[in-house]
């Protein structure tokens, strides 16, 4: 399929998300759309997929102008999309998800399950997409869920596949497998539009590259013409230093000590499996791993948000196992949660209120059960300056802030009280480069001030740049603790469960799976997020 986007413009209020964007993708081509978070890539794809209507501009398929009122129109024209957040119904089976909206039926609208299974099996063999049609999607690891998403497009005979940040949740090895699938799709004549902000991937897979910044196309190139540094400069608009400036850690006494920690997830399956880990004052331990291998649950157990089944959590020698979140907080644990909008902020409330969300009942912000709103406001204004939060007023609802500034509100709040331990989960997810640099700087500063820092991240770049040591989690276990100088390939293997080779590390034999305490199939639950 030949696809052209001509002069696409889309504004949300005063914000122009896409400004006269042109893009063309030919048959059999792998085209990468590169841009940092907030550059307007997803908006453009939503326009293309009929989820959002453009203010002006035209979409042409094989030279013919088309109009997509909804995703159904796009699908009928042969355009399929794998969304960044998978669009799968968790309680449906794989087969149900794949055929949804395109169901083979018999008389009276009865589902023809046999035909659906046959078709799925045929396609999954053709493209090496291994899935079990009868499995429930919510029981599948993310990699498999992604294969389901791809099959969803293929079963509709999509000639063009849009992949929106598909590697965010994959190990390097899984990414490599995905690239193989992409190449086989391209060689079958299908076009692939690959959206990402990861430079290495672009160079590895693209035939052609289009770079976006602030809603505009700022460059068109190919991997042969441009290197990593060129692409980065194009994407951000200035030269980017891709490393975090920090001195070697001066680790002090142990602050956080986990001993034989076991935690279950929402479904009662073992998510953290006998984990022992120490984080010392003045060091940053980065917890790496593919999302859904128990890192989230581990962070939640430390901050008191999740029940600890067995084992212990100690903070500076004091036992805080199964302390309430409030207790953990008062004991000096700061928490930057993974999903800031869901767990970190009350979007409808003001910036000032969000800045005191965990100290609202403490002096000076309250006395005898009455809040001192003047102090809350003054404190908020001070923090706006200190943390460079761009908001026109502390009375504005925090929802009116950009993602980067929202995260700064969370960070500002957590770092504004005396803390011994900072737990930060995916602290830079979805942020632009400027905000990422800022958040990293603050975390290093906190380390240098003598706090222990535990960073949970599924971004390998971040893990390697930030960590003084790297702990890799796989299926609820820590498969090794290695220095950040370890090669990406090595850590990638560990993330996929392969044992770490260096003798110094706490290695665990791989391949044996996880002895699950609940008796449920091992790993089937802890894989997923």
């Amino acid at each position: 399929m030949n696809l052209e986007l001509v002069g696409i413009t889309k504004a949300f209020g005063q914000l122009v998300a896409n400004d006269r964007v042109d893009l063309s993708v030919g048959a059999g081509e792998v085209h990468c759309l590169l841009g940092e978070n907030g550059a307007g890539k997803t908006t453009l794809m939503n326009v293309l997929f009929g989820m959002v209507r453009a203010d002006s501009g035209e979409i042409r398929v094989d030279g013919q102008p088309v109009r997509f009122a909804d995703p159904g129109d796009a699908l009928r024209k042969g355009i399929g999309m794998v969304h960044q957040h998978f669009m799968l119904v968790p309680v449906f089976s794989v087969a149900e998800n794949i055929v949804l909206g395109f169901e083979p039926v018999r008389r009276f609208g009865f589902l023809d399950r046999r035909r659906a299974h046959k078709e799925i099996r045929h396609l999954s063999e053709q493209f090496g997409l291994d899935v079990d049609p009868d499995a429930l999607v919510e029981d599948l690891p993310v990699g498999a869920q992604q294969r389901v998403e791809i099959l969803k497009a293929l079963v509709r005979d999509a000639r063009m596949l849009i992949l929106d940040e598909p590697t965010a949740v994959l190990t390097p090895q899984e990414t490599e497998a995905l690239f193989k699938i992409i190449r086989s799709l391209a060689s079958s004549g299908r076009s692939v539009l690959f959206i990402t902000h990861k430079l290495k991937e672009v160079l590895a897979i693209a035939d052609r590259i289009t770079v976006m910044r602030q809603g505009r196309v700022v460059g068109r190139t190919t991997p042969a013409e441009s290197g990593e540094a060129d692409l980065a400069a194009m994407m951000v608009g200035r030269d980017v230093e891709l490393v975090v400036a920090k001195t070697p850690a001066e680790a002090g006494d142990p602050v956080l000590e986990l001993h034989d920690l076991c935690v279950r997830d929402e479904r009662g399956l073992t998510a953290v499996d006998h984990v022992s880990l120490t984080v010392r004052a003045g060091e940053i331990v980065a917890l790496a791993g593919v999302q859904g291998n128990g890192q989230t649950e581990l962070a939640e157990a430390v901050t008191g948000l999740r029940h600890v089944e067995s084992g212990s959590v100690r903070l500076s020698g004091k036992d805080i196992t199964n302390a309430t979140p409030r207790h953990a907080l008062r004991a000096g644990v700061a928490n930057v949660p993974e999903d800031r909008q869901a767990d970190g902020l009350v979007l409808s409330m003001s910036v000032a209120d969000n800045l005191v969300l965990d100290v609202y009942d403490q002096p000076p912000y309250a006395k005898l059960g009455a809040r001192d709103l003047a102090r809350v406001r003054a404190g908020g204004e001070a923090k706006l300056k200190e943390f460079d939060i761009r908001a026109s007023s502390v009375e504005d609802p925090v929802s009116s802030l950009s993602g980067g500034n929202q995260q700064k509100v969370v960070v500002a709040r957590e770092l504004s009280r005396p803390i011994k331990l900072l737990v930060a989960s995916q602290p830079t997810r979805g942020l632009d480069v400027g905000s990422i640099e800022y958040v990293h700087r603050r975390m290093v500063a906190e380390r240098d001030r003598g706090a222990a820092v535990l960073v949970v991240s599924s971004e390998l770049d971040e893990v390697l740049a930030l960590g003084d040591s790297v702990a890799v989690m796989y299926r609820g276990r820590i498969v090794g603790v290695v220095p950040p100088t370890t090669s990406r390939e090595q850590i990638g293997l560990m993330m996929a469960g392969a044992a770490e080779a260096q003798p110094a590390a706490v290695a665990v034999p791989s391949g044996s799976g996880v002895p699950s305490r609940s008796g449920a199939p091992s790993g089937s639950g802890s894989e997923e997020q």
């Binding site: 949300f12 209020g13 005063q14 914000l15 998300a17 978070n37 907030g38 550059a39 307007g40 890539k41 997803t42 908006t43 939503n46 989820m51 960044q84 957040h85 809603g215 901050t303 948000l305 309430t324 979140p325 409030r326 207790h327 953990a328 907080l329 008062r330 928490n335 949660p337 869901a342 767990d343 970190g344 902020l345 009350v346 979007l347 409808s348 409330m349 209120d353 969300l357 965990d358 609202y360 009942d361 309250a366 059960g369 009455a370 809040r371 709103l373 761009r390 908001a391 026109s392 007023s393 504005d396 009116s400 802030l401 950009s402 993602g403 980067g404 979805g430 632009d432």
Partner: protein
């Protein structure tokens, strides 16, 4: 959807602020204000539309107008005059019955007598508003925490029952006795609110179902107690309770048979206290956070389960005061089905008042006026009182969907016309 796009560095409200600072004749601003969908205009339009629906109902169901419709072709003038006079009489009665009657006022001015008669309607409106203010405030506090208390009827009965027992069972001078009665009313309602609260926290039972079911439980419990000593009036076979003594009755504010009593002042005080509570207290803040985003509250160290117990208990206590206020203020004894629609109307009042105690006070006065006027309407024109409940429902439909009001009345968009979302799904 992912936020692929960042809002501009300068948020929009800054723009609006600058616009607001531009000099502009005040009347132009006032005119603009009147045609945009702000809270006041939307509420006003909702009330107008509600009354309009009421008028239609009268026109299509009253025998006189129905007959007139039959002659609309042959004698259109006469038919129309019948229809309009019926409507005029009806709305006149609504007004006369709830605010004041011009003729009675005129009589009072000219003769210097009969002021009581002139003030009776407004006094009755205040009397009817009293329980609504208590109960509406209680429901509003629940909504602010994302808890939907439909158990007003049951909690009201519980409060009234407790107040009655303390009323006739304790013998004290009036001041301590009344204090005790008021506290008992609150305690009774609190117990009735605590039940769904603890069930929600401990077992996850959704408060909407539990509170509704408890209404029927308390109605039946009341029926039982009314025919059982010591509550039953001795020597009576009817289901009627003992009467509370004078020391357990809320004093009238003005003499001369006007029934408006100290309960109204207590209600205003409670509304003011609730307003402070929601705006300035740490617990109120915690409630609001948990109501808007429970998981953020939990992450910040708040206890959402405890909050749902507390909020339902407090909410129940306030609704219990509503039962106390009618018992000690005007009724003095209990009968089957006590409290009538007050428990349910508390919800509509809370919605009309947009969850703010001050709004609840005005909403209560409005709905109280509708119902006292409605009683007068029923007495004078035979149009059933239930008409006012229909009008109230229509008003709340519109208040809950400001966008619809904007379309019906072609108002300009304004920030205040946001949709009210208070409740949570079954799972939470």
């Amino acid at each position: 959807m992912t936020t692929a796009t960042a809002p501009p560095e300068e948020p929009l409200s800054g723009e609006a602020n600058r616009a607001a600072q531009e000099p502009r004749p005040w009347w132009l601003g006032a005119l603009r204000w009147m045609v945009e969908a702000n809270v006041a205009v939307v509420t006003f339009c909702a009330i107008v539309f509600g009354l309009f629906v009421g008028a239609i109902l009268i026109v299509v169901t009253t025998p006189a107008t129905l007959t007139a419709w039959g002659h609309i072709a042959s004698a259109p003038g006469h038919s129309l005059s019948v229809i309009f006079s019926t409507l005029g009489n009806a709305f006149g009665a609504l007004f006369t019955g709830s605010i004041f009657s011009p003729s009675a006022v005129g009589h009072a001015i000219s003769t210097g007598n009969g002021w009581n008669t002139a003030f009776t309607p407004i006094s009755e409106t205040m009397v009817s508003a009293t329980p609504l203010i208590f109960a509406g405030t209680g429901v509003a506090i629940g909504f602010s925490t994302g808890v939907f208390n439909i158990g007003g009827q049951g909690q009201l009965i519980a409060g009234a029952l407790a107040a009655t027992y303390v009323g006739f069972g304790v013998h004290l001078p009036i001041v301590p006795h009344l204090i005790l009665v008021v506290l008992a009313g609150a305690a009774g309602g609190a117990v009735a609110g605590f039940i769904p609260g603890i069930l929600k926290a401990r077992t996850g039972a959704h408060e909407v179902i539990v509170t509704i079911m408890l209404n029927y439980v308390f109605l039946n419990l009341l029926d039982y107690l009314l025919v059982t000593p010591p509550l039953q009036q001795p020597g009576q076979s009817n289901a009627i309770s003992r009467t509370v003594p004078a020391s357990a009755r809320l004093p009238h504010l003005f003499g001369g048979g006007l029934r408006v009593n100290a309960g109204f002042l207590i209600a205003l005080g409670v509304a003011a206290a609730a307003s402070w509570f929601m705006k300035r207290s740490t617990l109120g803040f915690e409630f609001k956070v948990i109501g808007s985003n429970p998981s953020a509250g939990r992450t910040a160290g708040m206890d959402a389960r405890l909050a749902s117990v507390l909020v339902l208990t407090i909410s129940g206590a306030l609704v219990g005061l509503a039962g106390m206020s009618t018992l000690s203020g005007t009724d003095f004894f209990l009968s089957s089905g006590y409290g009538g629609n007050n428990g349910f109307n508390a919800i509509t009042v809370a919605l009309l008042g947009r969850n703010k105690p001050i709004g609840v006070v005005f909403g209560s006065l409005l709905f109280a006026a509708l119902s006292t006027g409605g009683r007068y309407l029923q007495a004078t024109t035979n149009i059933p009182l239930d008409l006012t409940q229909v009008i109230q429902a229509v008003i709340v439909f519109l208040v809950a969907t400001p966008a619809l009001v904007r379309e019906i009345f072609r108002l300009r968009e304004a920030g205040a016309g946001k949709i009210l979302l208070f409740t949570k799904g079954w799972g939470s």
